[in-house]
Symmetry: D3
Subunit: 221 residues, 6 copies
């Protein structure tokens, strides 16, 4: 049985980036895990209401996916650069060692949000085969409103792996609705319309109705 | 007044790649020109019917855009690699020297179709400022079914210029309908749905309803 | 009327990188703004004399350009890596929100000076169209003694935009003289000779006597 | 059942590049196919002896792998640039359409040998999902004496997929011995020693005794 | 006489990356220097035994190479991101100014270990010719278990310089044995077998029995 | 004694690209060779006068450098793409085998002129150490009016090797005057002014008055 872990810097990244694929892998028998790297805290200016709304969303979404476990690391959102890298690495490493995932979905390394960049670097450094022998497949995902705003001259997101999510697409959209505060109408990049259009275009490249796409960084067969 | 030239390897590339932008530039007063690099010929196995259908399409499309002139170079389609580069260059150069364009829209250099690659190389070699002083802006465009199939490890199409075509989008789609034989239903990459989705996604990146996007190669201000 | 903002990590970057272009834009009617990210402070070992000399230079240069406003962020020079990124971002963001610039000139992302790298990253993260709708054009500039020492294997400065500054070049050189302590004779890279040679070579590529060149990262039309 | 096809420009490329992987895939039940793009001909200066020796090798090797079929295209070795691309494409396309492979192993696009570059381009252009729906996985392989001499500044072979061939390695080496004229002692790059060392190093990166590595260009799941 | 300095983030990097080359340069009359950027400290959880074992190793290795001097900077291992960059730069700069090296061997900028990345950046920023006129040649080296795990999509280690170490290889292996705790059997990447295989493959590319390879970043002749 | 060969696609490339370096190498005792890949022919539309003027220039320049030998391959200028690659390779290979050079100066692989691209590819394919053991150092040079017009998005010329030509610069300029028909006043890119400015800027990067710069592709030490 495959164990799959998605590294979501903020809740909703997992759904935007690989929601359909997670559902499909679970449909096919995999055990799926959700790591949430950051959290909102009152001391960083988030209201109790916002925080408890977010907690509700996480619980609701976790249930809809059927995640085996949610791994909240609790680092302060928009402040990952201030966390010593060794702390971030140790925290991620502890989860990897505990659940021993086979497949990892990571944020795209050039996402414009610095939290995504730091989380990617920390997670990627926990993938050496001789330390983490369970990890056989490492992918970067695309997160609308971050990946599409990556700096053009550093190289954009050019996928080499496409997953048919035609049967899972409706459920992905249902889950996204839970994050109602994060979505807005087009042309805001996290709109139902954008999300569907991206799935259609990736599908056109892959010969199916809806797809998600990824950059495979390493696979061991 | 700006003179704008699009280098279309095959008819419909101009519309897929920069149809909305051409319409907008003409709306704003520019003179627009259409170069068609290749043509179908009976000796290459195309039937008279297909050829005359294509001629009708070109005439109809030229009229709908209001192109000042159509420059058909007549090279054999899917055989550009067999044409001596100097012949291709001379033919393109003659048009550049005659109409003295200010803006060029070229195919993407990594498009999977070799005709696109050869046409790009030939056209780009006709852009040195000291030989072609009229040319001030050079862009590569994205052509669904070619650009989206470019080889991932050579670097994909990562745009740095976005043009709002919200007011021109309907006309672009009307023109595309002329090429009915080239379009098919989704997930075929040249479908009405794909084309709209791409315009929506590029719009989301640019803060507008519909956009086309480009790689600016050089601009002289 | 265009509003233009240059992000200078240290005073003189604005003149080395885009002095002629700023003058030309102002000649053409734009409102120009100067953000100075860092400042010298006594606690970091700079003498009162050096600091007040620098203040004089900034005042004098601001006047010569006719900047509408100078935005000094006051971060400690050569210590930007120690500033929490969110602080740097918030400070830059506040200026962007206040003046609502249309065009941004940023340091080159691979400049050898880490201050340039951090300032670029912070400023670039403040350019999403849905948060900063005024920003329509984002460019990186080349700063002699930093850009020309960027690490070769990361990719050098390869410009895609050239601005004719033949009419502004003399004024650019006058302004540079204000920073007399920063210039030294050739082969020091910030010499009057080097600066002129770079303008001549960029001019040769652009068909004019003197030019400045840029990497366009994004333009929305 | 998976159908796998390797595009070998010259016989022995299939073994150097993916011999162990082919054996493993066949061990696991796949049907494996061998395309040989070029052949030696008397008119190009090869002696009858060399040609018949080569034919013997091909037969012997085909048998040792258990290839379902050998597809010899018969293009002149070291002269692929002189073949019209459409001819090369048509010839490759015909095989793809006939056998409908699911997985493709192609030469590395930057291999120093121009035959490898032309064969790669032609084969890659036959992989669009809407024309070749059987093809779900496309990889580039590394061929000692070609890939390791690729031009450094164009980007070297950086694998993202590793296949454990520990159980197949001995058979791979047995097959290589058939091509005795192609192997020479170290430091010649096609030596038994080099080939083993490469497999060991790729194994060290993948946590196994011997591995082959690939650049995955596209996978559709 | 050439002065050569290797920047080893951790002891053993110098030997893995350029041990043979250092020995050869010393054989040819150069003065060689060893900078060790980090050290183990009790407060970071290393036992006295481990620390004193490491000190013994450093002394033993320094003697075997005949280093003119060992420059231990003493920064905490795996915590370089927490050190202000200016502190790291000042510490490295002081050594460069004192010994005035002509040739520098640096870690590879994309090594997966963040300590390697920070040490590279700090050291590279101390190489401007107008501040450090002695430095004429700057190279990056490959460190097994770090360089071979660099993220594939950022660009791997593609060497442009090869040094024949056939006469020094045995001594390199002798020195590596001093670091017995760092080596393990294959497929661990720092094994005697891997190290030999890498030297053999680099030799095959360079026409000699054993070689080390490098990325030349800058040479001034 | 070092044997040095420059591959000039057209006469004057050798001087623009590495004239000062050739003079310096000869000053230091090297034997220098000039390969001229193309020639003008009456059948390609060049007048007898132009051809004999060019012959005079080649003779005069050869004498001024003190070349040991001029190797004119005689391929038709601007038509290299029509020459079978094997013919071009064989012709270049024959010279390499005859004179056994140690250092090669090649055109930049992305030069906008297709002749430069084909000549580069052919020459580079003749550098495998096991076939051409004399070749120890391979560099690409920058040719004003070709290299500076390379397509920006393919990667520009980013040098990693700088040669101080302060003592040779005047002689380089003397030689360039022989090619009077090829030079024109600034802003034409092949002007005395541009050439001097480039040498000054490369000098500023290298700490000397005048320099030429190169991309080192491979060095074997």
């Amino acid at each position: 049985m495959q164990k799959v872990l998605v590294v979501a810097v903020h809740p909703d990244d997992e759904t935007l980036g690989c929601g359909g694929t997670l559902l499909r892998l679970r449909d096919e028998g995999a055990e799926i895990h959700w790591m949430i790297v950051t959290s909102m805290e009152e001391k960083n200016g988030f209201s109790k209401d916002v925080i408890s709304r977010r907690e509700y969303e996480v619980d609701r979404v976790a249930e809809m996916y059927g995640f085996s476990e949610v791994h909240s690391l609790g680092f302060p959102t928009t402040h990952l650069d201030e966390v010593p890298l060794s702390e971030l690495v140790n925290s991620i490493s502890a989860v990897f060692k505990k659940i021993q995932p086979n497949q990892l979905f990571l944020p795209f390394h050039n996402d414009v949000h610095s939290d995504h960049q730091y989380a990617f670097a920390a997670a990627y450094s926990c993938t050496k085969i001789f330390r983490y022998p369970s990890i056989r497949k490492i992918m970067m995902m695309e997160t609308l409103s971050e990946t599409d705003f990556a700096e053009s001259s550093r190289g954009g997101f050019v996928p080499n792996m496409f997953v048919d999510i035609s049967k899972q697409f409706d459920r992905k959209m249902q889950i996204l609705k839970v994050y109602e505060s994060e979505l807005k109408p087009h042309p805001f990049p996290r709109s139902a319309k954008s999300i569907e259009c991206l799935a259609i275009l990736r599908g056109a490249a892959a010969g199916c109705i809806y797809a998600e796409s990824f950059v495979l960084l390493k696979e061991l067969l």
